[in-house]
């Protein structure tokens, strides 16, 4: 729709959302890519930055060849503009490239380079999604520290819940307070996301929030139903929002993306 005016970037630059999960394999990158596509459909200029340095998956999910990567930018072989590439869903990506394995552990050098990249992209987009690595590492903690808000992706199974809780706890105790979203992926029945969220919040209240000035409040961004269409899209390496936008999972993601828009 060409008559929809492109929103201008917020005064401070793009809103930065760090997407993380305790456990790997809960669909973090899938969620990042599809949220980005949903936001792009709403007229947002969106960048997904593969901050899972060295263990990149975004190129696989989006079926993109990592031609010029963050690695090239870090090593001075390419400019940031050369590394920014368009993704199928109408948003931009900055791929890490497998050469970044050496950066998967935090050093002052990686810190400076990441900081530099993020400050360069911030004025150019409305929304930047930082797809962080699974688990908690110095890189993940630093990435989160660059973000305005955090989105924790979890599934309703014990290992994912425990790891999501550990992540929330570590972030709450080591990082400055910032809004924390929860997205529950692969739910088996409607309302399960609400149950999981309430359960996590109850434990957070008891063990993390006790005696804290600024209590951690998890906000449920959404629940995405377990859907055969998702597996199909993932296997075909297509964006759900593009290939099967009418499915329950795609609609749930669109609804979740709406909550990340300003004034909604």
């Amino acid at each position: 729709m060409t008559d929809v005016a492109k929103p201008i970037a917020p005064p401070g630059g793009a809103r930065i959302t760090a997407i993380t999960s305790g456990k790997g394999g809960v669909g973090k990158t899938f969620v990042a890519a599809n949220l980005a596509a949903a936001l792009a459909r709403r007229g947002q200029r969106v960048l997904v930055l593969d901050a899972d340095l060295g263990l990149a998956n975004l190129d696989v999910v989006l079926n993109l060849a990592a031609r010029v990567t963050l690695h090239d930018v870090f090593t001075g072989k390419a400019t940031l503009d050369e590394a920014l590439q368009p993704a199928p869903g109408g948003f931009s990506v900055l791929l890490a490239g497998s050469g970044l394995v050496e950066y998967s552990r935090m050093t002052p050098e990686v810190r400076d380079k990441l900081l530099d990249v993020v400050s360069q992209v911030r004025p150019r987009f409305d929304h930047v999604l930082l797809d962080t690595g699974a688990g908690i590492s110095d890189v993940v903690l630093f990435t989160v520290s660059l973000a305005d808000e955090v989105l924790v992706v979890a599934t309703p199974e014990p290992t994912s819940l425990t790891d999501a809780y550990a992540t929330v706890k570590v972030l709450a105790t080591t990082q400055a307070a910032r809004p924390m979203w929860l997205l529950v992926n692969q739910v088996q029945r409607k309302g399960e996301g609400r149950t999981v969220s309430a359960q996590l919040q109850q434990v957070v209240d008891r063990f993390v929030n006790a005696g804290r000035d600024a209590p951690v409040m998890l906000q449920l961004l959404g629940e995405v139903p377990s859907d055969a269409a998702v597996r199909e899209a993932v296997q075909r390496r297509q964006l759900l929002m593009e290939s099967l936008p009418g499915t329950a999972a795609a609609q749930a993601l669109a609804l979740a993306a709406g909550k990340l828009l300003p004034h909604e």
Partner: protein, 245 residues
């Protein structure tokens, strides 16, 4: 002190395979270790020899403590272990206060005695599973796996006090007493980190202990991030009750 020149030992087998073992054997003798048992040049003999050399190359020659190389390996393993297990581990950096004065006043031989005595006091102040290493001139590191954050201050205080209480008797008469400054940091639980960053954090606390007047312990304030059994129970137990199928 005279060191006997190592007699050149020519092994028939070794000769045939072109192995040159004289330097290795001389090193073992210098370290006071017996020559490996078994037929010289046999696999068992060579394995024993390698094991002895590995041991030698991971120890500090003066104190017999773990050396810096050994310590760095252990630190790397511990960082990975803590990231997986969520257990708490404490790293202490220990530095002898005003060590230069000992050397300047009583000579380097006295300095060596002090370094050995402090090493012994450190070893005596921790559990057998803990690793005590000499990582620099008068600097030591103590790695304490599975050390809960709540115990940190007491453990570090015990280490400092044990050193302060030990007396070093010099051959010429005087008895020396030295103090140490101790800096410590916990490995962040569940967090994949690097040995370098952990070491740096503990080192910062050591600098702080020195700057605040020495003979003291400074620990980085720790955050408890492990998920306890009661947290798990509340997280998963109730969840299963509410969500039976």
């Amino acid at each position: 002190m005279n060191v006997d020149p190592a007699p050149s030992l020519v092994l028939p087998q070794a000769g045939q395979t072109g192995l040159r073992l004289d330097t290795a054997l001389a090193l073992l003798r210098q370290a006071g270790q017996a020559e490996p048992a078994g037929e010289p040049g046999s696999a068992a003999y060579l394995q024993a020899l390698i094991d002895q050399l590995v041991d030698l190359s991971s120890r500090d020659a003066l104190t017999g403590l773990a050396n810096r190389r050994n310590f760095e390996l252990a630190l790397g393993r511990e960082v990975d272990r803590v990231a997986r297990s969520g257990e708490s581990a404490l790293l202490l950096m220990v530095d002898i206060d005003h060590f230069k004065r000992v050397n300047d006043t009583h000579g380097h031989a006295a300095g060596d005695l002090v370094i050995k005595a402090v090493g012994q006091a450190l070893t005596d102040s921790v559990r057998p599973m803990d690793l005590v290493a000499r990582i620099g001139g008068e600097e030591y590191a103590v790695l304490l796996p599975n050390c809960p954050a709540a115990f940190g201050p007491q453990v570090a205080a015990r280490v400092r006090q044990r050193v302060a209480r030990s007396m070093v008797q010099l051959p010429e008469g005087p008895t020396l007493q030295v103090t140490v400054s101790v800096g410590g940091a916990f490995a962040p639980q569940w967090v994949r980190s690097t040995p370098g960053i952990w070491l740096q954090r503990a080192d910062q606390q050591l600098y702080r202990a020195k700057a605040e007047g020495r003979d003291r312990v400074c620990l980085e304030p720790s955050v408890v991030t492990a998920v306890s059994a009661s947290e798990r129970d509340m997280l998963l137990g109730n969840f299963q009750i509410q969500d039976p199928e």
